[in-house]
Structures are given as structure tokens and as C-alpha cells.
Symmetry: C2
Subunit: 361 residues, 2 copies
């Protein structure tokens, strides 16, 4: 296969082609340094420019006020599952967690393994996580409310964020960060493994409000303290330079080429609606997430049989449509259509789905 495919993988996922081309073109000599970006010191003006531009673009795209710090950590969202209770529940306080599937469940487990006090205030486990809970009884004096804004595996997403009163939200946005404008008014922290909407694997973006940093205890390991990263502009030790560089380029594309989060949101809605509308009008394909809880990023669906699903995924690959297999824990099919996926990819996918339905239905 010589051509590039349409990549519907859930993560690592498609990146904007102009970003990949810029990396390729400058790969042996970054910005006149005479070195590859992979060889440049993190203590150099070249890398300072990269990380600071990534931070400033994040501030502009999300309209952050000066109370927020933008950090880059390693270990993915999974490391955050561990760090959040360690940093914010050290004084014996309790937090509320909403369970909307695999990733929320893992976040809960990592708090419990540390014997932290948490309360699961809502769960959609009763219906195999196919919906987002509403009317949640939050605890008034909780240290924070933790939620996963988009469930990559089940294809569900909070349409809007819940009202948690005075309690700050901590949100795992790994699979929908920067996909739409965000009301930051009650958000204490956002975190996102980069490898879905904003870059390659290897970096986790953390956006944290100053008052949460004040809660971090002194006597925890340096690499597990948010204050270590906040006080050193994410460079206490060598950061994941290449991943941060790629994130910078993706944010530049998002801001300068796409035109910001309102425009990205409009494109993402158009893409998702096209796909859901086709699926809903078909008797052959069935969307698995409830209407009102459906993800704009991960469209999950089933075919009439597992055999047909297997054939579907295989034939799609032969047509240049990759990554349509559902997560191994749930089966079925899934099209992940993050920011970099263009409307042309959705058109080609729908066209293939029509042909497959005609042939097999």
C-alpha cells in the first residue's frame, strides 16, 4: 500500500497532513539549529520557543485566564489517575467521581488503591455505559468532582458539563480536548493524553488552576507533584521534546489554519452528524450510544453479526479506511473522527458503508 489511508484509529490517531509535512521537511535541521528537533537541548532557545508557543496557543484557544498553568507531563492520562488523588486528597478530604466507563473506572481504582476517600456519585454501568448520567447528587464540600468528558470506548460524551456548584471539576479530556469551545468557569484542572486530538503519544497536557496547586503537599516524590512541573515550566527534567513540538504544530494548525475552536466545533459537528444520520437511517448499522450522550469524536456502531463486522473492518482496510475495529474490550466497530479527520474521510467512509450494506444487507 503506497498511499496514505484515512485513519480512524482511536489513538494514536490521525494528525494533520501539513503538520506531518512540516516535521518531515525540517527533520534534519530544525529552525536553522543544524540539529534535528530530536537532538536539540531542552535548555536551548529553540526548545524554549517551542514549548512557550504551545503554551500561549493553548491559552488563546481555550481563552484561559492567568490563574491557569499549562503543563506537559509524561505517563499519559493513566499517570494522572494516580497523581490527582495523591496531590489533592492528601489532607483526608473526599472527592466525587462520575463513572462513565473504562477510563473513569481506572481513575477510581487508582484513588482507591491509595486508600483515598472518594464517592462514586453517578454511574452508567447499569446500561453498559451507553449514556451520560444526569441530575447527579454532588457532595457540597467535595475537594473536586472527577469526570471523563468523552468515553473513547463506548462512544459517549458530555454534551455540556454538569453544574457542580462551588466544587471544581477535574476533567479527563484525553479524547475531546480542543474539539470545541470550553466554559472554564468551574474547571480546576483538565488533562489529556496527547495522542488523540492534539499530537502523538508521549505527552500529557495538564491545565491547572493556581488554587489547586496550593493543595499539593510538600512531601511527595518530585515527579509526582504538580508543583514540580508548574515551578519549572515543565522542565524539572528532560521533557518529551518531540511530542511537545508536534503538539505545538497541531495547535498552530488549529489556530491559524482551522481558525480556532468555534470553527473546529462546527466541522466536528458536521462530520459526526453526517455519520450518525447515515447510521440512524440504516437498518443494517446500529449506533450503540444513546441519543443525547453521543460522542462527536468516537462513533461506535454494530453490524448485524460479528462475522459481518470482521468482514467490514477487513474490506475497509483494503479500501484505505483503517482503524475501524471497536476497542478489544467491547467489540463492534468504531470510527474515531478527531480534529485532524477531514470531511472527505467521512464522505469516503459513508460511501463505503453504503456499498457494504448493499452487498451484505
Amino acid at each position: 500500500m503506497q498511499e496514505r489511508i484515512h485513519n480512524f484509529n482511536a489513538g494514536p490517531a490521525a494528525l494533520p497532513l501539513p503538520v506531518l509535512e512540516e516535521i518531515k521537511d525540517s527533520f534534519l535541521n530544525f529552525s536553522g539549529s543544524g540539529m534535528s528537533i530530536t537532538e536539540v537541548s531542552h535548555r536551548s532557545k529553540w526548545f524554549d520557543d517551542v514549548i512557550n508557543d504551545a503554551i500561549e496557543r493553548t491559552q488563546r484557544l481555550l481563552k484561559l485566564n492567568d490563574q491557569y498553568k499549562v503543563l506537559f507531563l509524561q505517563g499519559g492520562a493513566s499517570m494522572q489517575f494516580c497523581m490527582i488523588p495523591l496531590n489533592f486528597l492528601s489532607d483526608g478530604r473526599s472527592a466525587d467521581y462520575i463513572n462513565t466507563g473504562t477510563w473513569s473506572t481506572k481513575a477510581i481504582k487508582e484513588a482507591q488503591i491509595q486508600n483515598k476517600s472518594i464517592k462514586i456519585v453517578a454511574s452508567s454501568e447499569d446500561k453498559n455505559f451507553c449514556y451520560i448520567p444526569e441530575n447527579i447528587p454532588f457532595t457540597k464540600d467535595a475537594a473536586f468532582v472527577h469526570l471523563t468528558s468523552n468515553n473513547t470506548i463506548k462512544g459517549t460524551q458530555f454534551e455540556s458539563l454538569p453544574d457542580t456548584g462551588n466544587v471544581p471539576m477535574i476533567i479527563d479530556m484525553s479524547s475531546d480536548i480542543m474539539s470545541r469551545p470550553l466554559d472554564m468557569s468551574n474547571i480546576g484542572m483538565i488533562y489529556a493524553g496527547a495522542q488523540k486530538n492534539i499530537g502523538p503519544a508521549g505527552a500529557c497536557m495538564v491545565i491547572i488552576r493556581q488554587d489547586l496547586l496550593d493543595l499539593v503537599p510538600d512531601h511527595i516524590p518530585s515527579m509526582l507533584s504538580y508543583n514540580t512541573f508548574a515551578s519549572k515550566n515543565s522542565m524539572y527534567n528532560t521533557p518529551p521534546c518531540f511530542s511537545i513540538y508536534t503538539i505545538q504544530l497541531v495547535l498552530k494548525w488549529l489556530e491559524d489554519t482551522i481558525g480556532g475552536l468555534e470553527k473546529m466545533d462546527a466541522q466536528n459537528r458536521e462530520k459526526a452528524n453526517l455519520l450518525y444520520d447515515y447510521i440512524d437511517n440504516s437498518d443494517f448499522y446500529n449506533a450503540t450510544a444513546q441519543i443525547g450522550s453521543r460522542s462527536l469524536m468516537n462513533v461506535t456502531f454494530r453490524l448485524p453479526s460479528e462475522d459481518l463486522e470482521k468482514t467490514f473492518v477487513e474490506k475497509a482496510i483494503n479500501e484505505g479506511l483503517g482503524g475501524l475495529k471497536g476497542h478489544r474490550s467491547v467489540g463492534g466497530c468504531r470510527a474515531s473522527i478527531y480534529n485532524p479527520t477531514g470531511i472527505n474521510a467521512i464522505n469516503d467512509l459513508v460511501s463505503f458503508m453504503k456499498g457494504f450494506e448493499k452487498q451484505s444487507g
Copy 2:
């Protein structure tokens, strides 16, 4: 500056040009996948081939027996400073630490911050860490002995590993892994941030012996347990794919082009000797590490004044010799000459040093 420079940075550092060229050439379409390596799923045959080849090459290069697992983690060596005492001193046992400078000191601090019992059995702090301690009084029933095989900042290196009796060594080899053959007979674990000898920033190689894995307690956070990584071939969650891919290519270069660690060692000795010999025969430059403790990877030296050092570093950059400034904590000059640095770079450096001495001496 249009040409590539000689890169003497301490890390991130120079990578082999053929490796960079291969990454560049395949960057938009990796191995016929139709995707960039940055877009390929870590749960794909493409990435399985990458990580397994990196592991197998490591096994062959270091002649590992089947008791060792090769893992890739995130967070650099600094995260290991935290994980080692958490994983191996959970039962109240004590460990010996050798302090040979900044990185050992940090490793010690991260054990102490967890209130783990450790004993500093040797330190070269009395002479500003310019030598490697000998005749160390190891503790017979210690859980492990921790040491840093090469001190990047002070330019010191263990010529050979100490005899720790029956106590396994845990060695931070961030700056000299794969630079020479290694006697594994008493090594429990090696770890190395990749960004010096084996790849770009963003991945930490961990080589761990099975009996140490048996010590890891069950009830620690998943991402801080070596067993999590050992039981999932480093893919409990999304690994730093691009960094691992680059490591694979560097190891391929080391094995297939260089011809293995004996040959790499010979080249590294030739390079370092050339530079040290010139410095030792000069009245203008002074090597800072004691003979017998000198690093083959990081050659640290001083000029007659700090002003001259500043001019030296600036003029060198103009001649295409980058990264010669010493670590900000110690000043002076440093040439980091890891595996990818060719003898031609050393020749050009010595030639420049001669000219500068003549002009300024």
C-alpha cells in the same frame, strides 16, 4: 546556518544521521501502513514489530539471559528515582546508595522523601564529585546497591562496576548505556533515559531481573509498579511510540552498522583518548575529572578564565561545534561524545581547540 553541526550537547544529544534519514524518509507512510509512525496504533502489528525488535536487539547487544525483561517507561530517570524505593523497599528493608553527584543525590532524595531506609555507603562530595569512590563498605543484607555509572555533569564514570557481593546492583546508566560491553552477572536492574546514547527524550529503558519483580508490592499505583509494565510488554497504556521507534532504529544502527558493543567501545575509547590526550598535553585546557575516574562520554574541562570559556563556546558555535557549555550548575566546558558522535567530530573539535589556544593562550 544551513548545514548540520557537530552536536556536543549532553542530552537530548546527537543521533546517528542514517537513523534521522530513515525517520524522515518514512515519516508520512511508515512501513506501508499508509500512516506516519506517529499515527500508528500501539495495538497494531506495525508497532508490535517495532517494540519487539527493540527488545530483541537489546537482549542481543547486552547478551541478556532470559531472567531479564526489557521495558520502556516514561518520566525519564527522575521517575525511576521515585519508583525504585517504592517498588523494592516496601518491606522495610534498606538499600545502599553511592553518591557520585547530582543524579545520585536526586535518587537519594527521592528515597528519603518516601521515608525509606537507605544508607549512603560512599560519596565523592568531599572533592566536588571529581572522582569515583573505591573500597566501598557495602552492607551485606542490603536490598540493593544503587549507583550512577556515569556522571554527565562532572564527567566521571565507573571504569568497572564494584563488587557488591550477593547484593544486586541497580544502575542509572542514562549517559553510558550501550556504550561498552557490560557484565550483567550482579546487576538487578539498569535504567536509562533514552536521550543520550540510545534515542530522543520521552522514553526510559528499564532492564529488570525477574527476582526483583517478585519484590514489587501489589498495592501501589498501577503506573508506578514495574509489574504493570512487565506483564503488558510496556503497553498497559499508550507507550511513547515515536521515542521507542527511534530507539529501535538506533539499536539497529548499533548492531548492524557499528557491529555491537565491543566495536562501539573501541570507537568510544579512541574518541575520548584523542580529546583527553590533547587536553592533558595543553597548559591552556584542564580536565576536571581525576584520571581513573574519567568519563568516556562527557569530557569536562576548564579554560584559564570564565571569560575565555564564554568566548570559546560562542566561537565554537560559529564554527559548527554546538553544545560545549558546561552544565549550568558547574560552569566550564563539556564535550558530550556519545555513541553517535563520530571521530570526525572529535578531530574538528581538537582542531578548533588548538586554534583557540593559539589565538588566546
